[in-house]
């Protein structure tokens, strides 16, 4: 019944796909802001936003009607869903002044630039997989906008552009706090990118055949963890997740991810108690919310990449790849073998993992104090970077020896 889709023009299809991604990513990022408030409230022993409800006039709107449904309405109210909507409305309709002392062009440009890498990187991130029959052979295909061989490289290349928006915002604001925030951000983001990149290389040392055609595809990284080998195969690794045989890599990647997404304890660019709000001190209303959304988008995509590389992607458990799970499910459910069902299950598992990581991000933020700026740089250059180099050397030599 979805066949009409495949008859559409390629460009139309791509536009639709991109729209789908934005329509999924934006609400998740927005929901993250509410999750942040609810989780922080939970950690701190308070209820969090739980009173907002659409006003009487809002009865005409779908949200106002939903709020009046017995049981469901009050439950959503408790969960802060209407607060989320109110926040969104506020950010959209609030006056959005541009202070007189800023460089207007770059001031407006910065939040726009912040969204570009956040929305672009998602193009190469696979979120699930399904069996397609190609030339009579069942082939596992990823659910992804662009399954490119340079997958991870593309993610790194584009997401590192995000730092420009921070620097630009800090500089264009023409405010000292914003400026300090911008300077800190540029140094921090560049420093941690090094260890981050080095920490993921071992993953592709496993996957790629020496001398053969190499790949940086994220889909292949998951395939490797599902027990499908293109590269080097070691029987004892069958179905194990990357984190089991590359714990140090996973750790470095996660730490660097915290730094790259400006999350506490590495939230130097913002560091609320020192720099007021850091690079977005002068921003308000919709422009500020763009920075905010971009941060959450980065978090979501960062978690997604981390899951793809080290935590088994859309596989439910170690040793239980998605295909095995679907096989098992097909004993009970007749349509389990349908590609659509398989894709949805894969996406659900994947999103579940992403949500866990987002929860982890928030958990850390509301528990730990913040590093000092020089300590962040210290950690990045003097500890994480040597560690990731040693880690890379270890796996390079180890894999070379094993392959002999």
């Amino acid at each position: 019944m979805f066949d009409f889709y495949f008859h559409l023009h390629l460009i139309v299809r791509l536009v639709l796909q991109s729209l789908a991604v934005i329509l999924v990513l934006f609400p998740i990022a927005a929901a993250c802001s509410m999750a942040e408030r609810k989780i922080s409230a939970w950690i701190q022993g308070r209820p969090g936003p739980n009173r907002t409800i659409a006003p009487i006039g809002g009865l005409l709107t779908p949200l106002g009607l939903v709020g009046r449904i017995p049981f469901l309405g009050p439950f959503l109210q408790q969960m802060g869903i209407f607060q989320l909507a109110a926040d969104g409305g506020k950010f959209t309709f609030k006056e959005d002044p541009v202070p007189g002392h800023v460089n207007k062009f770059y001031f407006v440009l910065a939040p726009i630039i912040s969204m570009i890498p956040a929305l672009t990187t998602v193009v190469v991130v696979p979120v699930g997989a399904y069996f397609a029959v190609v030339d009579g052979v069942k082939v596992l295909k990823p659910i992804v906008l662009a399954n490119v061989d340079i997958g991870l490289l593309a993610v790194f290349a584009v997401s590192s552009l995000g730092v420009y928006s921070v620097i630009l915002a800090g500089w264009a604001s023409n405010s000292k706090y914003a400026f300090l925030g911008g300077v800190r951000a540029s140094a921090q983001l560049i420093s941690y990118e090094l260890s981050m990149t080095l920490s993921v290389l071992p993953v592709f040392l496993w996957i790629n055949k020496p001398g053969g055609q190499g790949t940086l595809s994220l889909f292949d990284a998951v395939q490797f963890q599902s027990g499908v080998f293109h590269g080097f195969s070691l029987a004892s690794l069958h179905g194990l997740w990357g984190v089991c045989y590359m714990p140090v890599s996973a750790f470095i990647f996660l730490v660097a991810l915290f730094a790259e997404t400006n999350r506490a304890p590495f939230d130097m660019p913002e560091s609320e108690s020192e720099l007021v709000a850091g690079f977005h001190t002068e921003y308000g209303a919709f422009k500020w919310s763009l920075f905010f959304l971009a941060e959450y988008c980065h978090m979501i995509i960062g978690s997604a990449v981390c899951i793809l590389l080290f935590f088994g992607g859309w596989n439910l458990l170690p040793w239980v790849p998605l295909a095995t799970l679907i096989d098992w499910l097909s004993h009970f459910i007749s349509f389990a073998g349908h590609p659509l069902f398989m894709g949805l299950v894969g996406i659900a598992i994947f999103l579940g993992k992403v949500f866990f990581f987002i929860f982890f991000f928030m958990w850390v933020r509301w528990t730990l104090p913040r590093f000092r700026y020089d300590q962040v740089m210290d950690l990045g250059w003097k500890k994480l970077l040597p560690l990731s180099i040693a880690n890379l050397l270890f796996y390079t030599l180890g894999i070379a020896l094993l392959q002999k």
Partner: protein, 410 residues
């Protein structure tokens, strides 16, 4: 063709380089409206990159002229103004002020009143230190500590409300006593609070004390040497954090503090971490004092008998007896008459030694009153400590000095 590229000789090259890389110091106004200056303190920082080369505190944004106001009102009328000094521990300020005036009036308050004052002072100390701790948590980026501490403060506020009728501005003491006796069962509830508070305090402290990031931020930061601490007139936990064990409750006991057993914690290095540890330990000691005070809580009068001429007479008597009516009239219009003289009293408040220097030339109002506020003296060391530190350290130091601008600016 190559000659077209004329390299400047080395001397002018370095000149050009030094001109090109000449750095400018940046001046940064931190405050008066800034998330971590704890009120309306303004720090005029001069920065070399992120390093503070000079720090100039600008005070007075919360100046209300409390000392001048005191000259225009009777002694009891000034009690509510003491609430607004250290508004995080108004009860302790109330007590210190009352004792100072009693010293002028040569009044002896009964044991029960003293015990009540000790209990409320120590509860106020816990409340103030909890906030100091929580706010310090925020300053170094640990938000949850603040809310855990506030939950406990909320319980304290409930106790204060029951005792004084107000949660925040308590105005509890009067010259020669307290406004009213403790309600029935109140001491039991205080005991109950202490009971549940200690484990929670450990839990709150556990979030920070052994936390590596917190230690990185505080150990060795903002070191105040013993000599400096004394020279700059630091008092309270800031002085004790530097290793000087001066505690007025022990060294110049007042209000019956000599009867209670407690330890005075002192720091070893005088850094932010030591000051933090001192505050944590002081709360435990406060609980110890409160428990002892409640254990031997004396019965009897809760105001000095001699204070009759200071307290307004009972309303019923005012309405029926001529003498009482005149007495009431005199107290209201002229204030209780005090002898001429000068007194100075300082009490160990949560922030340090809060002193009242009262000059009376007789009559119902002080001729001059000087308030020695601990926060003001504690802040005086700020330019010295902040120098050479990073901007982040300034925040960390500010939090560890734990000042209140209401008291500092008066």
């Amino acid at each position: 063709m190559a000659t077209e590229f004329a390299f400047p000789d080395s001397a002018s090259k370095t000149d050009a380089a030094s001109q090109e890389f000449q750095t400018e110091k940046m001046s940064l106004a931190m405050g008066p409206s800034h998330p971590s200056t704890h009120g309306v303190l303004r720090l005029q920082l001069e920065l070399d990159g992120e390093i503070v080369t000079s720090c100039d505190p600008v005070l007075g944004y919360l100046h209300r002229g409390d000392e001048k106001i005191a000259e225009n009102m009777t002694y009891n009328q000034f009690v509510p103004y003491t609430d607004r000094l250290d508004y995080l521990a108004p009860l302790a300020s109330n007590v210190a002020y009352a004792i100072a005036v009693e010293k002028l009036a040569k009044l002896e308050v009964p044991a029960r009143c003293q015990a009540i004052r000790v209990i409320v002072s120590e509860l106020a100390r816990i409340s103030a230190h909890l906030l100091g701790l929580g706010a310090y948590g925020i300053d170094v980026g640990a938000w949850s500590v603040f809310l855990y501490a506030f939950e406990e403060r909320e319980k304290l506020y409930k106790l204060f409300e029951e005792l004084t009728g107000a949660r925040f501005t308590t105005s509890y003491t009067r010259i020669g006593g307290v406004a009213r006796d403790v309600p029935e069962g109140w001491t039991g509830r205080v005991e109950g609070f202490c009971e549940q508070f200690l484990p929670i305090l450990e839990e709150i402290l556990a979030l920070l004390t052994r936390n590596k990031i917190f230690q990185d931020r505080t150990v060795g930061v903002g070191i105040i040497s013993k000599e400096d601490a004394i020279a700059y007139g630091l008092t309270g936990p800031n002085l004790r954090g530097s290793g000087v064990g001066l505690d007025l409750r022990k060294d110049k006991p007042y209000s019956g503090y000599e009867q209670y057993e407690f330890d005075v914690p002192v720091g070893a290095k005088g850094d932010c971490y030591d000051r933090y540890l001192c505050r944590g330990e002081e709360m435990r000691q406060s609980v110890r004092i409160i428990r002892q005070a409640i254990k031997k809580f004396p019965a009897g009068a809760w105001y000095a008998e001699d204070a009759k001429k200071i307290f307004a007479p009972q309303k019923a008597k005012v309405l029926t007896s001529m003498e009482e009516l005149i007495n009431n009239f005199m107290i209201v219009t002229e204030g209780p008459q005090m002898a001429a003289g000068e007194v100075y009293f300082e009490g160990e408040n949560p922030k340090g030694a809060l002193g009242f220097y009262i000059v009376s030339k007789g009559g119902g109002v002080p001729w001059r009153m000087k308030i020695r506020s601990p926060s003001f003296c504690n802040l005086s060391i700020l330019p010295k400590v902040c120098q050479g530190n990073l901007v982040s350290d300034v925040v960390s130091i500010l939090g560890s000095l734990d000042f209140v601008m209401g008291e500092c600016d008066r």
